[in-house]
Amino acid sequence: MTEFETPLLRLIPLLPLLGAAICMFAASTDRRPLAKIVGPGSVLVAFLLVLFAIARFWQLEEGHSLVDLVSTWIDVSPLRVDLAFRLDALTSVMLLVVAGVGFLIHLYSLGYMHDDPDLPRFFAYLNLFTAAMLVLVLADSLPVLFIGWEGVGLCSYLLIGFWYSDPANADAGRKAFVANRVGDAAFLTGLFLLFWSLAAAGSPTLAFTDVNRLAPELALRSPGIVTAICLLLLVGATGKSAQIPLYIWLPDAMAGPTPVSALIHAATMVTAGVYMMARLSPLFVESPTAMQVVATIGAVTAVFAASIALVQRDLKKILAYSTISQIGYMVLGVGVGAFAAGVFHLMTHAFFKALLFLGAGSVMHALHGELDVFKMGGLKRHLPITSKTFLVGTLAIAGVPPLAAFFSKDMVLEAAFMHGHPVLWLLGVIAAGLTAFYMFRAYFLAFEGESRMDHEVEAHVHESPSTMTIPLVILSVLSIVGGWVGLPHGFLWGDRFGRYLEPVLAQAAHGAHAEGHAVEAGGATPLLLMLVTTAVAFGAIFAAWKMYARPSTVPDEMQARFPRIYDLLWGKYWVDEIYDTFILQPYAAASRFFWKVIDASVIDGTVNGVASFFGGAASAGRRLQTGNVQHYAFAMLLGAVFTAGVYWLWR
C-alpha cells in the first residue's frame, strides 16, 4: 500500500496546541479577547485543514493513505518508533467528528462561559484536549496514539476539576484520572507484550500497518499471547471509554462545565477506546476469546448503565449513564466483529449526545444551574430552540427512524444477532428499550407538562444566546441526517459507510468463530430484527409518556411496589462502595503501613540508627580526651610497651 507523504497532517494537531499556549498566555496576562478569538479560531482552522486533507485523501486510489513522517522519536535498537501521522478512511471519520463537533462546542463555550473569569484558561485546556485527541486519531503507531491517549486523560482531569476551588470538583477530576490510569497501566502492559512478541517473531515494530499485517502470523505462533494482549488493551479501553469495570469516573465527571461533558465525555475522549480497538481490528479478530469478552462487556455495560439512568434525577447524570450505555453498544459492535457498525454508532452518538449535553447546558444556563428534572417542567414554552433540538436528540438516541441512531444502533444489533450472539442481542434490545424510556422520561419531565420550578428561577428563564443555539441546531440536523450514510442492505444506496471503511477494518468473517451458529444472511431476518427494535423503542416511549408527560402517581407507585429494586438502582448497584471497601481501603491501609512502619520505622530507623551508633561511639571515645598531659603520657607508655612486646614476641 503506497502512501502519499505530506507535511500537512502535522499542522492539524499543531494549531490547537499553539492555540492552547496562546490562551495560557492570555490567561496569565488577562487578555480575554485574545482567548475568545484564538480558542475557537484554532479549532476552526484545524477543521478547515481536516477538510483540505480529506479532500486530498479522496483523490488517492482506494487503499492508500496520507502519511506525515515528522521525525524519529525513539531509536534504541531494536525498538524504533517514528513520530508519524496517517490519514486513512477510519482516521477521516474520526477527524471530522473531533474537529467538527469540537469546533461547535468551542463556539458554544463562548456563550456558556461568557461570564466566567477563567474563560482563557478554559479555552487553553479545551484546545490542548483537541490537540491531544487529534494526535490520538492521526497516530501511525501505538506509542504515538498513547501520547494522545495520555494527553486527553490529563485534559479530562484538568477540565473536570476546572472549578477547583470546590473540593468536590477536584475529587471528581482525581477520580477520573486515577481510573484512567488503571486502564493506562493495562494498556501499556498490553503494548509491551505486543512489542515483545513481535520482536521475538523477528519484527520489532509498533506501527499500526505493521502490527495489523503481522497479526495473523503472530496468532499462529502464540495465540495465547494475542488474547492476553487484546484483553489488556480492552481493559485500557474500558478505562478511557467508561465501561465495566472502570466506568465509575464518568458520572462524577459531570462536575465539570457542560461543554466539557459534551466534548470529552460524549463525543471524543470516551470514544478513544472504541477507536483504538477498531484501529487494531486485524489483531482483535485473531482472538475469538477476546472478542467474546469485548462484546459481553459492551452488552452488559449497555444494560447496566441504562438501568441506573432510570431513576436519576440530575439531567447531566442521566446523560452520563446514557453515554456509558451507548458506548456499550459501540463496544458490542466491535466485539461481534462489526467494527464499521461500532464506528458508525460512535459517529452518530457524537452528534446526538453532544446535542443533548449542550441542550442540558442551555437549560442550566436558563435556570441558573438547576439540574433536577423534578424541579423543571414546561420548559418548551420558555426555551423553544433548546427544547426542539433536545427533542430531536432524544428521538435520535431512542432509535426512532429515520434519525441517525436508528441506523447505527440497528446495524450493531443486527450484527450481534447475525454473528451468532442471541443473548447479547437481547441485552442490546433491552438496553434500547430502557434508553428510549429514560430519555423520554427526562424530556417529558423537563420540557413538557406543568412547571415545577422555583419561582425566582422561573422569573429569569430565557432562551440562550445564538452562540449557544446555533451549535444546537447544527447538531440536530446532523442527528437527523447523520445516519443516512449507513442504510440497511437493499435500501437506496445501502451501507456506504461500511464500504468506505472496508479497506481499513478487518472483516468479521475472517477468523471469528461465534458462539453458537452464525445466522445465514436471510433477507427477512434483518427486517424482522429492525421491527422488533423499533417496536420496543416505541413501546418504551409510550410508557414514558404515560408515566411522566402529565402529573401522575405511577412513578411513586412503582417505587413503593419495588423498593429494593429502586434502592439498588438509586445506589448505582453500590459499585463505588464495593470498590472503596475492597480495593481503595485496603490499598490505603497498605500505603499507611508502608509509610508508618516501613518508611518511618525501618528505613528511617536504620539510617538514624547508623548515625546514632557513630554518635554513641564518638561519645564513648571522647572520654579519652581528658586534657591531662599525664594521662596522655601514660597512653604513650602503654603504646611503647605494646609495640615492644609485639616486636619481642613476633620477631
Binding site: R622, Q625, T626, G627, N628, V629, Q630, A633, F634, L637
Partner: protein
Amino acid sequence: MGVPVGHYLALSAVLFSIGALGVLLRRNLIVVFMAIELMLNAVNLTFVALARQQQSMDGQVIVFFVMTVAAAEAAVGLAIILANFAQRRTLDADEIDDLRG
C-alpha cells in the same frame, strides 16, 4: 674486676621506673620535670654501661646527644611552665584540662 654490668642496668631500670612513675603520678609540674630528667639520666647510665661493656665509643657519643637534648628540652619546658603559671597561678597538672573533649 669492676662492678658487673648487670648492676648498672638494674640501677638504670629502677631509676627509669621511678622517673616514669613520677611523670605519670605527681601533680606538681616542676616535680614532673625533675622526673623527666631522671628518666633521661637513667637512659644515659644504660648507654654508658653498655658502651663500657662493649668497649665501644658509640654509646658514650649518644649520651652527649641525649644530654644536649635534655638541656634544651628543660629550657623550653620550663619556659612553657612559667608562661602557664603566669596565667593560672598554679603548678597543678590536673588543673590544665583546657583540651578536655
